[in-house]
């Protein structure tokens, strides 16, 4: 690299020279545009975030029915626009640690039942009001109200008292809970003035971007909130989110430069898309997993030998290769993988073993076909995955009968109702939350009907345990119980696949959820 090129590179990275001029001059110096682009994006990244420019995103998962009320958010577009416009108490960092946002710092009583969160001073809502501890308390009260329709109601159940002490929020839980701050990072719990009790859909939050236009299912336009408290986030002047539910349309929009960032790239085209000029495809191993679930209390699945036969009769690697095209990793019949804190990596991986499966199947005494219900909406490629399962199980003498259910109404008529069906989980930030949500005997979504008193005791014990070594040992034991006795067949953990073009930079891998836990628009910056 000669001096002149280095000079050009620095100027381009600082934004003093526009990109096209840079590439032209680089070509004059004999540097190919591919090489120059690569060097430029490295130089821009090294320069650090730059204010300015606008971001246009193309996103899957938005409907005309979306609301600005954070309580009702359930799909990807509301999830990201809440992350962009809202400010929670805490965020979960890529390494699994916590980052205080509205909460500046927090302390727990020694038994982890009483938590004090100091509210950061000088944080402003988009309407100019200052965020107070009372606003935070009201927000949590709205979401924990039994009459609310909040998606966060389940995780708020354990909080018995919400009080304010000056600039401090005081939470009391019904039992020890060492992970409570993690629960408060939930995307529904964006702080609103007076907790949104006056008008939950007003779109007034305390995040880096404020609302300009809201056309549900079409586009959402936000602009930088100038009084945002944190200078290290919110680099674009404005963010426009276009709802593009069709995969091909999303890819085309990225390739033609109409959008700079897209989510949900389909595994089957991810390889092709990454070869397009100027496009970077990011695959992030996360905690989401695709599952086949059996009700442990319903015949014939109340027999552990039959459950074990089905678990041994599925070819996990084959599914990762064919359904995920390699963008994922094999599951181990428990909902936890290496992306979770306190994961025990010494638990042996379960392999496809038709002989063992046949042995367990014969010992269960079951005969005849086993109905498996599946739909296109169960997870992407679910119907094909069920076919693979049927074939691999047939080699062990097990007859799986696939029943295709309509996508419409699948989550109310089939999932959590029928004894054997396909489904997916998005994962949770910590093991406690995952197990409490779906494996505790009393959980609303105990979709495998797993009732095990010892497991429940261990879960509660781990929740209050502040010794991390002991806690890890308990989680390991619980994982083994689900793996060997539960109704979960977990063949694979899926990666999140997002893509962006060379007009933006600053990607950081974050396993929490897609698009850098929904904060890519706030943390990335313009490369032009």
């Amino acid at each position: 690299m000669n001096d002149e090129f280095r000079y050009l590179l620095t100027r381009a990275a600082r934004g003093k020279l526009d990109r096209r001029a840079f590439l032209g001059r680089a070509a004059a110096l004999g540097v190919t545009s591919t090489a120059a682009t690569g060097l430029l994006s490295k130089a821009v990244l090294a320069q650090g975030p730059r204010r300015g420019g606008s971001l246009v995103m193309g996103m899957q998962g938005g409907e005309s029915t979306n609301s600005l009320d954070p309580a009702l958010a359930a799909s990807q577009v509301p999830y990201v626009y809440l992350r962009v416009s809202g400010e929670p108490l805490v965020n979960i960092m890529p390494d699994g640690s916590l980052d205080g946002r509205i909460a500046e710092e927090w302390t727990a009583s020694s038994d982890a039942t009483n938590w004090r969160f100091k509210i950061r001073s000088g944080v402003e809502f988009h309407n100019g009001q200052t965020v107070t501890a009372e606003d935070v308390a009201q927000t949590l009260r709205r979401h924990s109200n039994e009459e609310s329709q909040s998606g966060a109601l389940g995780i708020m159940r354990g909080i018995t008292d919400i009080a304010v002490d000056g600039d401090t929020l005081v939470l009391t839980t019904d039992g020890p809970n060492a992970d409570l701050p993690y629960l408060l990072a939930d995307y529904h719990l964006m702080i609103q003035p007076n907790g949104g009790m006056d008008d939950a859909t007003a779109g007034i939050f305390a995040g880096a971007y404020k609302w300009v236009e809201n056309e549900p299912g079409v586009r959402h336009v936000l602009e930088k909130f100038e009084n945002y408290w944190d200078d290290s986030a919110g680099h674009f002047n404005s963010i426009e989110m276009l709802v593009i539910n069709d995969s091909t349309a999303r890819n085309s929009a990225l390739q033609s430069g109409q959008v700079q960032l897209i989510n949900r790239v389909e595994p089957r085209v991810a390889g092709l898309l990454s070869r397009a000029p100027g496009v970077t495809v990011e695959s992030t191993a996360g905690r989401g997993h695709y599952v086949f679930i059996m009700h442990c209390n319903t015949a014939p699945f109340d027999n552990n030998d039959l459950r074990m036969a089905l678990k041994l009769g599925i070819n996990r690697q084959d599914m990762v290769d064919r359904i995920l095209r390699g963008y994922g990793s094999v599951g181990n019949d428990m909902p936890i993988n290496a992306s979770y804190p306190l994961f025990d990596d010494t638990i042996p991986q379960r392999e496809y073993d038709p002989d063992q499966a046949r042995f367990h199947y014969e010992r269960s005494g079951h005969s005849g076909p086993i109905d498996l219900r599946v739909s296109d909406v169960s997870f992407p490629g679910a119907v094909d995955a069920a076919q693979l399962f049927k074939e691999s199980a047939a080699a062990a003498g097990i007859d799986i009968n696939i029943i295709r259910e309509p996508g419409d109404g699948y989550w109310s008529e089939t999932w959590n109702v029928q004894p054997f069906c396909a489904s997916y989980w998005g994962g949770r930030p910590v093991q406690d939350q995952m197990y409490s949500t779906a494996y505790l005997s009393t959980a609303d979504w105990n979709d495998t009907r797993f009732f095990n008193d010892h497991f429940d005791e261990l879960l509660l014990e781990a929740r209050g345990e502040l010794d991390q070594t002991r806690r890890k040992a308990i989680y390991s034991e619980m994982g083994m119980m689900v793996r060997d006795e539960g109704g979960l067949i977990c063949p694979m953990f899926n990666d999140f696949i997002d893509a962006y073009n060379d007009q933006i930079t600053g990607w950081v891998t974050n396993p929490n959820l897609e698009l850098m836990d929904g904060r890519a628009p706030v943390l990335m910056w313009s490369a032009e």
């Binding site: 029915t65 109601l153 069709d246 419409d408 109310s412």
Partner: protein, 318 residues
Amino acid sequence: MHPVLTLVIQRLALGLLLLLAASVLIFVGTQILPGDVAQAILGQGATEQALQNLRAELGLDQPAFTRYFDWLFSALQGDLGTALSNGLDIATSIGGRLQNTLFLAAVAACISVPLAIFLGLLAVRYRDRWPDRLISAITLTSISLPEFLLGYVIMYFFSVQWGLFPSVSNINDGMTFLEKLNAVALPAIVLTLVVLAHMMRMTRAAILNVMQSAYIETAELKGLRRFTIIARHAMPNAIAPIVNVVMINLAYLVVGVVVIEVVFVYPGMGQYLVDHVAKRDVPVVQACGLIFATIYIGLNLLADIISILSNPRLRHPK
């Protein structure tokens, strides 16, 4: 009373009756959808308590009969209610979407209807020779391809490769008329290709039918130019079947383009309706159904009336 007026009034009355029947069907249809509104709104993550609260709030506990008449009378007064899922006023939301749908349909119609009729005339003029064969081959190929494939192919060349038009046809109020035209160029082209064949073939067939008549032979013997004969003498007598086909295609451009809307991310009625069906947002589905039925019945009514008026025997009774 003039017999034409009687006929037109009869048609109008029949149309209204049909609309009423359609409203009953729409209402019954939305009632027998599987699943439950509350579950669909709150998604997989809903708890039983949240579901019960929402159901009570939405008034789903009242009998269907009462709800039908409440709905019909408010709809007649222009009050379509509020959407269950996001609490927005339906008339306002639909207004914008309907405007977009009509805009795209109008652009597509302005290109496709004159083009189809002109190509039809041309095909008759060069019947069974290469221009006729070429026109038929191209239009039949484009109608035989699935819409989404046609959309992707056109998007690939016009947007990704050549960069002529945007692949995302998002339009909003802040755009000028020309910007909007540029935005809808690709979907309008695809829609034109989709509806062209039907109208063009019908024009060709209807005119060829008339071309067998004796008075056409007279015109030929008078020494008129062949294209003049087709356009001035044959075409007026073939109006009725052509108008019917044109109206069916116009109705299609308004009510049947959801696939194109999805592919080109166009904020029209189709996507709006599908989203709300998925969420069991019954008031919106009913409102959309009613509007679609009105447009369909209205356009067909118009076709009938034009056919009646174009018939001299009805216009000038003895």
